[in-house]
């Protein structure tokens, strides 16, 4: 079943995490699940690299974390975006969008040329 999925392009995991967290404070497991759902199973997020990425982002002060109760009454580490993280998300999303547009343009031209 894994073979049908693509690997994440380099450097996009951070962006996806930031985007996921931007909506509301959320804990690690929820991030993993949401990524899984949102990408509709197309993209495989390696769970093993999720936590190191979270810690790295926290270390760069793009995220901050609090220990809070979940709806099931258990205590979990909830991550939320800092102001710096929000700025980072905006600029990264914008540059990602530009890249996608450019690639789409190139692929569209090439597609028009071949039957």
């Amino acid at each position: 079943m894994a073979s049908a999925k693509s690997d994440l392009p380099q450097g996009t995991l951070d962006l996806l995490i930031l985007k996921t967290i931007a909506l509301a404070p959320v804990h690690g497991y929820a991030i993993a699940q949401r990524l899984e759902q949102v990408s509709r199973g197309v993209v495989r997020v390696p769970e093993g690299s999720l936590y190191p990425a979270l810690h790295r982002l926290e270390n760069r002060r793009l995220l901050t974390a609090d220990w809070k109760q979940t709806e099931t009454g258990r205590v979990a580490k909830f991550y939320r975006l800092t102001r710096k993280g929000r700025r980072q998300l905006e600029s990264e999303a914008a540059s990602w969008q530009r890249l996608i547009d450019a690639i789409g343009l190139i692929l569209g031209m090439a597609g028009g040329g071949t039957p």
Binding site: H27, G28, Y29, A32, P46, E47, G48, S49, Y51, P52, A53, H55, R56, N59, W67, R74, V75, A76, K77
Partner: protein
């Protein structure tokens, strides 16, 4: 959270990480159970999906910025635990390192104090010495007093001060004693930038002939004879029969080319040479005035010298002046010896490092299983390499600390061991620069020997390591071990050959003919009673009295006076020529001029080749005569048989002197250095023909030489007693036997040989330990293989040969590499050590077999042990 809270709250962070990950797994597990999986299976799948909690944790820790510091602390604790587990290894490694670092630290401390650290005068980089210079003879240290005074007056870029030697007898206060002294210009202290600790330095108006005698005394004389009492200022000091008033106390440790106790104003000197432009006996030191540079000062000095040459054609034509930084002058050529020793010590340290590296590597290989376990638990390759390096760095630093301790204890004795005197020896101590050097050297060594084990940390295939047990050994590590042994042997070869070369050089230098009989000769400087110095007649009578009295001492065979003693400090050179018209000033060939009494050649045992030596008829008023050595005869007349020929000499220009005899050449400058010295011609003239105005000066430099029938040193006390004189204030001092002087002239070579010998022995010893250790280890690894071979019919001899073959290859590759390096090192030695013989086959022929034999002996033990393996028990073992 700041980095240090992260660091100090490590355990809390660990707990949080653990909690976070288990929350994740639990959530995932619950979800999987809800989807219908069995609880155990759900838990397994959740863990699998995460990718192994321990690995994830490790990566999370890496994501923290302070990771390296945390690891360092952890690794440090871990390393200490390992060392405690195997104290034998740690102790051996620390001892080897302490020796290596200690020796290197001592050498560097000396280099630091002598060569690198600025002088203890203020603004030392602006201090210079001014030397004389001619095209024919190159540079010489002195300047004439009139030239010095003219340069001092005319220079705008330099404050120039001058000094010369001026020792004598202090008869009050206390017992009569001979002391070294210096005549200094009034501005010497201010030029150097120092001030007397009490009192004042000389005033310019005291620096003139005929003014009231004043003196500055040394700190140590002040302590010794005046009890350190400030009331010494203004008190009287009877020096050379004259009452001086003490005006100042020099700072402790103040030296001008050696210690001296009495400083008097140069300008008050009545020495006839003071007005002679051809007598270059003033040492000039100078300080650059603000705003001037050395090139500017040099240009100005050149101009001044040119003016003087135009003005005083007879004496100054072709004479230039050259300024050098003072430090260079003080240190002289000691630098090359120091760097030589530091490199030798560095090689020993390198061998020590290689040794420890192979020990560490052997340990690392046997720890493969431990490493594999740690990799399985999530340690990355970088992490394990870092841990290896931390271990060796701790080892290096601890060894370094022990080494510094060792150096602190041994530096004083070592400085005292130095032949002659080490310049600035009193300043040698450990300071922060030395500490930085030692710490650097220890860390560098630590990293050097930690590198090999760190680089071979396994990345892949650790499952095999886990399964295989201790039996496997990778080919790379065997090659690495062999490389260690090879480089150790090569380094040892370099040191051994260097020591061998020095030994051979010393041997061949010692067997050189000094040109005189070295046995049963006592030499000493001598100071006549100041009271006897009143008139030339009295001086001559006093010297005759010294000779006559010395002859009466039992055990004395013959007695002579001379102004210079071979192989002792002091010289007196003058120009000579063979036609009535002198060559242009400062271009005449130079000869060592020695004024002697008639028995000199008998006392010294100098062979008389042609003609005669002096007799009592060669005196003032009779035909001036000289005796020359074979070199001068050959140079001047093209034949050794020069008796009866005539010469003109610088000091008697108007008439020729007759050569009455030719004697053998004496290696005046020392056995090692004579061949390379600037002045190799020698000329003797009768002391009785020294003109009256010069007698006073000559009397201050005359020495006595005695040929004895008993061991010379036994006569020191009887001679001192006998020669004290009627007023009991004559002093014989600095007694040396000729044997002592000859051996002192080789002191540098002997000292280098001693140290290189020690270093080479150390290197050989370490290399043998290295070979033994590596072979024992490699053989140990091969026990199963050897057992199989023996079980299949290999004999004990075959097995021994198997092991020995391995070591013989290493030994010969090492010897070959070392020989190439030793040839290069030999050239360096040849350039830096006087009288050094170029590398030759015999040195290799002596040293290499020694090394090979020792290396084979070291490899014999493991080979022998291998041959005694009992295959059945060995094979059953694992």
């Amino acid at each position: 959270m700041t980095w240090w809270t992260r660091l100090w709250r490590r355990s809390q962070m660990e707990a949080q990480l653990d909690k976070e990950l288990s929350f994740h797994i639990e959530q995932h597990t619950e979800q999987l159970i809800a989807q219908g999986h069995a609880p155990d299976e759900a838990r397994r799948q959740a863990r699998l999906a995460l990718g192994g909690p321990e690995q994830v944790k490790e990566k999370c820790r890496d994501a923290r910025g302070t990771r390296w510091l945390e690891d360092l602390l952890q690794d440090g604790r871990y390393a200490l635990r390992t060392f405690r587990q195997k104290p034998g290894f740690a102790i051996v490694a620390l001892l080897i390192l302490a020796l290596g670092i200690g020796a290197t630290t001592v050498m560097f401390a000396i280099i630091n104090s002598v060569l690198l650290r600025p002088l203890s005068y203020p603004q030392p980089d602006r201090l210079l010495t001014v030397h004389g210079f001619t095209q024919t003879f190159g540079e010489f240290w002195g300047s004439s007093n009139p030239d010095f005074i003219d340069a001092q007056r005319d220079s705008r870029s330099l404050d120039i001060a001058g000094w010369t030697y001026g020792g004598g007898t202090i008869s009050e206060p206390g017992e009569p004693q001979y002391v070294d002294g210096r005549k200094i210009s009034a501005n010497l202290f201010s030029t150097l930038g120092i001030a007397p600790v009490y009192g004042r330095s000389f005033r310019p108006d005291e620096d003139r002939p005929g003014t009231a005698p004043v003196a500055i005394i040394s700190y140590s004389l002040w302590q010794r004879d005046f009890g350190g009492n400030p009331a010494a200022i203004g008190s009287s000091l009877v020096f050379e029969g004259e009452a001086y008033s003490v005006v100042g106390i020099a700072p402790a440790g103040f030296q001008l080319s050696g210690d001296s106790d009495v400083f008097t104003p140069l300008g008050q000197s009545t020495d006839p040479r003071m007005r002679n432009r051809e007598a270059h006996f003033i040492h000039a030191v100078a300080r650059l005035r603000p705003g001037f540079t050395l090139p500017e000062a040099q240009a100005e000095l050149t101009l001044i010298a040119r003016h003087l040459a135009e003005q005083y054609l007879k004496s100054n034509a072709g004479l230039g002046m050259i300024a050098h930084p003072l430090q260079q002058e003080l240190v002289g050529d000691i630098g090359s010896t120091l760097w030589l020793l530091l490199s030798a010590v560095g090689l020993v340290l390198l061998i020590a490092c290689v040794n420890i590296a192979s020990l560490l590597l052997a340990r690392a290989v046997s720890r493969d299983r431990e490493l594999a376990v740690r990799i399985a638990l999530g340690a990355g390759r970088g992490r394990l390499s870092r841990q290896c390096l931390t271990e060796s760095a701790i080892l290096g630093l601890t060894g370094g600390m022990l080494g510094v301790l060792l150096a602190t204890m041994s530096i004083r004795p070592f400085v005292l061991l130095w032949p002659g005197s080490l310049p600035r020896a009193e300043e040698v101590h450990l300071d922060w620069r030395v500490l930085v050097f030692s710490i650097g050297a220890s860390l560098f060594s630590g990293l050097l020997f930690g590198l090999a084990p760190a680089l071979r940390v396994p990345t892949r295939g650790f499952e095999q390591a886990l399964r295989a047990g201790a039996r496997s050994i990778a080919g790379t590590s065997r090659r690495l071990h062999s490389a260690f042994v090879v480089s150790e042997i090569a380094l040892a070869v370099v040191l051994l050959v260097a020591a061998g070369m020095l030994g051979r050089t010393l041997l061949s230098l010692s067997s050189l003919d000094p040109g005189l009989n070295v046995h049963n000769i006592l030499t000493a400087r001598f100071a006549l009673s100041p009271g006897a110095m009143a008139s030339p007649e009295q001086i001559r009578a006093a010297w005759q009295d010294v000779i006559d009295r010395a002859r009466t001492v039992p055990g004395v065979e013959s007695v002579a006076l001379t102004d210079i003693i071979p192989m002792r400090e002091g010289e007196n050179s003058g120009g000579y020529w063979t036609t009535p018209t002198p060559p242009p000033a400062n271009q005449a060939p130079m000869a060592l001029m020695s004024s002697v009494t008639p028995d000199y050649w008998k006392v010294m045992g100098i062979p008389l080749l042609y003609g005669r030596f002096f007799n009592d008829h060669d005196r003032m008023g009779s035909e001036p005569v000289v005796v020359i050595d074979e070199n001068l005869a050959q140079h001047a007349f093209g034949t050794k048989d020069a008796a009866g020929k005539h010469l003109w000499v610088q000091f008697i220009r108007d008439r020729p002197v007759e050569v009455v005899g030719v004697v053998g050449h004496v290696r005046h400058w020392g056995l090692a250095t004579d061949d390379q010295s600037r002045v190799r011609d020698q000329m003797y003239y009768p002391f009785a023909q020294v003109p009256a105005p010069l007698l006073h000066f000559f009397s201050s430099v005359m020495s006595i030489a005695v040929h004895t029938t008993v061991p010379p040193l036994n006569l020191v006390q009887p001679l001192r007693r006998e020669l004290r004189g009627a007023s009991r204030d004559q002093a014989m001092y600095e007694e040396r036997t000729m044997e002592q002087l000859v051996s002192a002239s080789l002191a540098r070579q002997r000292f280098l040989l001693l140290l290189f010998g020690i270093f080479a022995a150390l290197a050989l010893f370490l290399a043998c330990i290295g070979i033994y250790g590596v072979l024992a280890y490699l053989t140990g690894q091969r026990i199963p293989e050897i057992s199989v071979r023996m079980a299949l019919g290999a004999s004990a001899r075959d097995v021994m040969w198997l092991v020995l073959r391995q070591s013989i290859t290493m030994i010969f590759v090492g010897v070959a590499a070392g020989t190439v390096a030793a040839l290069a090192a030999g050239r360096v030695l040849h350039r830096l050590v006087e009288g050094m013989r170029p590398t030759d086959l015999s040195t290799f022929a002596v040293t290499l077999p020694l090394l090979i034999a020792a290396a084979l002996l070291a490899s014999f033990l493991p080979a022998h042990r291998a041959s005694r393996i009992d295959p059945t028990t060995a094979l059953r073992q694992d």
